[in-house]
Amino acid sequence: MGTAKYLLGKLGQLFITLVLVLSLAFLLFRVWQPGDPVATWAKASGAKLNAEQLDQIRHEWGLDVPLPRQYVSYMGQMLTFNFGTSTILNPQESVSSMFWSRMAKSAILIVTSTFAAIAIGVLLGIYGGWKRQGKVDQASMGSSMVLYAMPEFVLGMIFILIFAATLHLFPVSLYESPIPKTGVAHWTDVINHMALPWLTLTLAYVGEFYLVMRSSLLDVLGEEYIALARAKGVREKYVLRKHAVPNALLPTITLVALSFGFILSGVITVELVFSYPGVGKLSVDALRQRDFAVLQATFVISVIAVLLANFIADLTYAYLDPRVRRA
């Protein structure tokens, strides 16, 4: 079965990439990290510990063992999401627990906006590629390029200025109102708060997807099998639907997958602008305080997220392209 072979191959690649990335993380967070994590943590938590007790903790954290052995246990820890204890931000708390509550909030935001950006970008791109050189097409191309050129946090701030600060249509920040509501009111409140960050993220990337899909469709429309379909008497609508679009989607998927890394990077700044309590904001706070334990977690988790997203893209590609299914 060609598909199984293809997917196993991609899974294997994913694993190798993961190992390489975690090795990089090991270098960054164990080998090169400035300062002594134990001492930093002790100072931040306000505990008065003598040298012996500090050594004890160092032993518990596995930091007094030779590097090669540390490497192995490090890998194990990362793969089981055991990120240790926060050294500065929340010295009492394990990083993992800090994390999961915020993950869900970031996840909703990222997943919904990415889907929306892809859906809108692809649909508009098909339309733009099919009906080239209309006024609508030129306007779309222009605005797409402007959106692409705009840093997402700038876009976010513009929205805040217009919709929140001036028009007072949406709240300026956060995930929910300071006074918590219950039931349906809670959810509408959340949606209300998520609206602007969601809009920011969606618009920030829709331009790029539009341009890619349009370009891809234009390339496909020059292929011979399109002329053949027309020669057979197929209506334009179906030429587009059955011949052009399925082929044009393929390079689009590849390029969209490449932008997942950028989307995750963008989320960090957007969450900062809106003070949205997600993983992005957490990493900024950790950055400010130099809490490397938390930074390590955000690094590893974001990489895993992108790898997963890429794998899903590979699955979709295999579904659409018989050449990888039946090699």
């Binding site: 990439t17 990089l24 402007v146 050129a149 990493s283």
Partner: protein, 316 residues
């Protein structure tokens, strides 16, 4: 019985060239000048490219101007007794920020910093990417496989997550930022270069060159690189755009060099001083619009170049 053909084909004459007064080197440069001339002719026809170029020339002018104007009236480090957080006026065309400093002078200063960081980082990214891409494409499959795995890692990585860590560890120095951006953005160029090298490698004149005993270095320098130059150049322009955006993101997170305030740093200051809630939109918008315009400029020029260098047969 076959009949004789009605006519025989005319003899093909060998062309007689005029006596050559130019050396091979002069010929080569003449040819390069002609190619550039042709390229420029095509570029001129692209409306998008020309607009982008105009924007870039304008901002290049601003940046150069800022080198000379940093002393004197436009020196942003001198606190004035002017109004704080005042809107645009005759005296302060772009308004003032919280310390009373003219936003216009800050923006002009920022042009120099942002452009320099963007260009330098893109240069590093381009060099790294080209070297790795060429090595992977030209050498054996083992080198290729290893290098491509590493490239994939950097391609997939959310660059800001890595950049944050590196900046947290190694400091917020101006040069460190440049290196960090260069180190995290070379993968796209590497992939592109490798693909190009792979396709050029198969061409017959390479085979011929090697049959004549050319060394690897000779083949790479004389044959492969010239083929790649146009595409690498177009790609570098687009890389500069991305580098400027990346720098603005890093600065917005507070990782910019406090002694060299780029546009991103300006926006960060504005944001952290509550410019949003205080409706001091001019403080935010001047650097923001500048970033957008410059990135647009590079993107438009890059796309226009890409169309010339990578012509695709398209319908209608």
């Amino acid at each position: 019985m076959k009949t004789e053909p009605a006519i025989t084909a005319p003899e093909i004459q060998a062309p007689v060239l005029p006596p050559n007064k130019l050396t091979p080197r002069q010929l080569r440069w003449a040819r390069r000048r002609r190619t550039l001339g042709r390229f420029w002719q095509q570029f001129r026809q692209s409306k998008m490219g020309m607009i982008g170029l105009a924007i870039l020339i304008f901002y290049a002018g601003v940046a150069i101007f800022s080198i000379f104007a940093s002393k004197g009236a436009l020196d942003p480090t001198i606190t004035t007794n002017g109004p704080r957080l005042a809107g645009p006026s005759l005296h302060y065309p772009l308004g003032t920020q919280i310390d009373g400093i003219s936003v216009l002078s800050l923006t002009i200063e920022g042009a120099r910093i942002s452009l320099f960081v963007g260009l330098s980082a893109a240069l590093i990214s381009m060099l790294l990417g080209t070297l790795i891409g060429m090595w992977a494409g030209y050498k054996s499959s083992v080198h290729d496989a290893i290098l491509m795995r590493i490239t994939d890692v950097f391609l997939v990585l959310p660059w800001l997550a890595l950049a944050i860590v590196l900046a947290a560890m190694f400091g917020q120095n101006f040069w460190i930022i440049i290196i960090i951006i260069g180190l995290t953005s070379w993968a796209g160029t590497a992939r592109l270069v490798r693909a190009q090298v792979l396709s050029v490698k198969e061409r017959t004149y390479i085979e011929r060159s090697r049959a004549l005993g050319a060394s690897d270095a000779h083949v790479v320098i004389k044959h492969i690189t010239p083929n790649l130059m146009p595409i690498i150049f177009a790609n570098t322009i687009l890389t500069i755009a991305i580098a400027i955006l990346s720098e603005s993101q890093l600065s917005f997170l507070g990782l910019g060099d406090p002694n060299a305030k780029s546009w991103g740093t300006l926006i960060e200051e504005a944001f952290n001083h509550g410019a949003l809630t205080l409706h001091a939109w001019w403080w935010l918008m001047a650097p923001s619009i500048s970033i957008v315009l410059v990135v647009l400029g590079f993107t438009m020029v890059g796309f226009a170049m890409d169309e010339i260098v990578n012509p695709r047969i398209r319908e209608r």
